[in-house]
Symmetry: C2
Subunit: 133 residues, 2 copies
């Protein structure tokens, strides 16, 4: 191998995400999106209520959290369980499929987090060269 990924992985990459009108793109965007990734990451720790989730994912607005959860629920990654009590109580948790997705996502997030020092120095070098802009 010459520094690229093994052929097995590359061949398996011949899916259609690269194609415009492909059903997997929207789902992938829900998963990897700004709030989708953080929401899945938070739910990987266990079942959470709406406002618990809201506190965990710092910076998310009610609207976006609600929107994100609906998209993930629709895709079958998150299960929503509303109890008809007062005050209302709604729990969110990952489905089995959601757990698999979250696991891969977390692997990615952990890698990026762990390598941030490298990223930061790379940025400095880049900015130093192209100081003008």
């Amino acid at each position: 191998m010459d520094g690229q990924l093994p052929d097995a992985d590359v061949d398996a990459l011949a899916f259609d995400v690269f194609t415009r009108r492909c059903p997997s793109r929207p789902t992938l965007e829900h998963v990897t999106g700004r709030w989708g990734s953080l929401t899945l990451g938070a739910l990987a720790e266990g079942r959470l209520r709406f406002n618990e989730l809201r506190r965990r994912v710092d910076g998310v607005s009610e609207k976006m959290l609600s929107q994100t959860l609906q998209a993930l629920e629709r895709d079958g990654l998150v299960h929503r369980e509303a109890q008809p009590v007062n005050p209302p109580r709604v729990d969110y948790e990952l489905t089995p499929l959601g757990q698999e997705v979250a696991a891969r996502l977390i692997a990615l997030i952990e890698l990026v987090e762990g390598r941030m020092p490298e990223v930061l120095t790379a940025r400095e070098r880049y900015d130093a060269v192209r100081g003008a802009r």
Copy 2:
């Protein structure tokens, strides 16, 4: 294991992506973003030129591809190599770090692609219940 992820993974999740002003969020967004993920996926196959990349990632505009590549290069995930010839020739390839990131990303993409049937049926069920809206 009670259906959630192992404690080891969960504990490791105590990073700061969940925090608003954290340097890793932007990078994560570059990686997982709409065009970032597809660009890294395409480059995982090997070194590509600008327009090759543009053809591979269906639907991306010149502007967005250029922008995406600059962000990824700045983060140290992509290496840009310009040859001062005429006509101009510029090759893009993953850095070692970029390859690691791409590998995790591809694992995620493949999982989502492979489970699309489940996602699709989940959607139908969801839409059937909430037909009204």
